[in-house]
Symmetry: C2
Subunit: 336 residues, 2 copies
């Protein structure tokens, strides 16, 4: 049995990614409080693998994860990405259904005008979208909402239609939101969280799939140490591993000389010259000098098995001539 | 008198940027609840100018502002940047000084061991940094902290030394944090906020400049409508306006054909070929197709007065051949 560290708590979306990608007969999934804890558990060899969120299709990159890869204090020099996982993020409204409430004043079955399924037009939003879903039980008794800050922006249509003006409390994760609602005996609070969290915390699903975009997904990275020779071991569905460069992705970080016009363009041109298609680029403050940046690029291709003469190694040699410094952060099989 | 909309509330860092850059004898500064409200006030001509945060030197870009520039619903088609402002972000710990507390149990003058000025070494942080500053009054009575989520990460050394383990509550702005602490009659809560907020809300400064990096700055953009011909009117210090391209910056957004390897590299190469130095690049989800992106680049140079034959217009014509679509988002005088 080996350990896999993931960003907890239990029932988080990262937990779901870890459960999808690791066979729990052969490993122990260990929830961590922060993304940095996951990096440190892997760096220090306590865990063999780690699972961290990297980007959401609606909200973009997870900057905490990028900053840990930037690693300006050199705390995780041996961490590389060895796999990815995509999880559909379907938010639910979790709370106490009206039938379970003892206080009848909270269990009114007559909907308020704002629960009509029509958002109120305002001068700012003259033609509000009608959300695709309706609550499965009335939600008029909900007086306070808990969730992770990212979730509000993903459920705008539902919230503006059925829970307009209800007080919102930011918390550290959607699972924590469910936990707080479970502790609230009044039954008048609700969480935007996952269906799994409803099971774990014994809550009712008041509404399902309340996200604005049905395509809402989060991408997770599987981490290991560079000296760990195992690949991320399990694929549900026993996908055939294809050795074509296009079925792999690689991540590289680099900094440029900010005095040199075009050094970023030159760095990206290197990958083009070896026909390595860029799939994402991210920028973060360098952490050293204000308004200097570190860049992260992902591209199609694989360094392992690539050999000293392969395209990825050749591109990295050229990058060495135009970038100030760079770091290879892993190659893995694409799941997209 | 014209109106300048800024991201409020009063005493926010954006307010400070607006006060630095606009003469209040000739305009009214109007606080807005969200960054989107600032865009809309300018788009609808209610305000002539707007002030919004764009990036912090420690924490990076403000994604809400980027997404409003991406403008996928075409709600702010006429907004351009016409100026920038840099504000030093010096966080203070605000609360009630022990001398003002009536409950003597909270006003102990003996510091606890965790207030020794030495953080406790842990296995994770074996050599903690000693913060550069000490509280001006004892802070042992502080049992709860309020701040904007960005501030915790900017004050890590101070918090881990003097306020280790104290409960933290995220709120929507550092000014809102000060307001909540002002309302708390017990005197046992404190806010990480600005010195201005201490004045506005009648709080004591318990510690000054508690940020980890003395270089902590936030950059703000001044917005106007494209059809507003005035430049952002006021410069404190009556800087001489130099018409050299290098004293101006421009912002452009563009999307690329994701099927075409190298299209991002080609788009950036356009600017290099006209010797327009890139100063920043940002990426956000396109909002249309998952894992497709919109890019934002800033470069040295000015489109206004550039004429049809100038370098910026020439680069934009070439960009038109390699990018899927693009939008010019303004040129302004660099303040750096």
């Amino acid at each position: 049995m080996y350990m896999v560290a993931f960003l907890g708590p239990n029932a988080s979306y990262t937990h779901q990614a870890a459960r999808d990608r690791f066979n729990q007969d052969t490993c122990v999934l260990s929830p961590q409080v922060t993304i940095e804890d996951v990096f440190q558990q892997v760096q220090s060899r306590v865990a063999k693998f780690g699972v961290v969120p990297f980007e959401n299709s609606t909200n973009g990159s997870v900057v905490f994860t990028l900053d840990l890869f930037a690693d300006i204090k050199s705390r995780h020099p041996d961490i590389v990405v060895c796999g990815e996982a995509y999880v559909d993020v379907h938010h639910c409204l979790l709370g106490r259904g009206a039938a379970r409430l003892t206080d009848t004043s909270l269990s009114s079955k007559t909907d308020s005008p704002t629960s009509s399924g029509q958002a109120t037009p305002t001068s700012k939003v003259p033609y509000p979208k009608t959300p695709a879903v309706k609550p499965v039980v009335p939600v008029k008794h909900v007086k306070k909402l808990y969730s992770h800050p990212q979730a509000w922006g993903q459920c705008r249509d539902f919230l503006s239609t059925y829970l307009k003006g209800v007080e919102r409390q930011d918390v550290s994760s959607t699972s924590r939101a469910a936990e707080l609602v479970a502790e609230d005996q009044s039954g008048s609070s609700a969480a935007i969280s996952s269906a799994i969290a409803a099971e774990v915390h014994g809550l009712d699903v008041l509404a399902r799939n309340i996200e604005d975009s049905a395509d809402n997904k989060t991408r997770f990275f599987i981490l290991k140490r560079t000296d760990c020779l195992e690949h991320q071991p399990m694929h549900r569905g026993a996908k055939v591993v294809d050795d074509d460069q296009n079925s792999f992705k690689s991540l590289v970080s680099f900094t440029v000389n900010h005095e040199d016009p075009g050094s970023l363009a030159d760095s990206l041109a290197v990958f083009k010259s070896y026909k390595l298609n860029l799939t994402s680029i991210n920028t973060r403050p360098s952490g050293l000098v204000p308004w200097n940046y570190i860049f992260f690029i992902e591209f199609k291709g694989r360094r392992e098995n690539d050999g000293a003469t392969g395209a990825v190694n050749a591109a990295l040699r050229d990058l060495n001539n135009v970038a100030k410094c760079w770091r290879w952060l892993g190659s893995w099989e694409s799941e997209l």
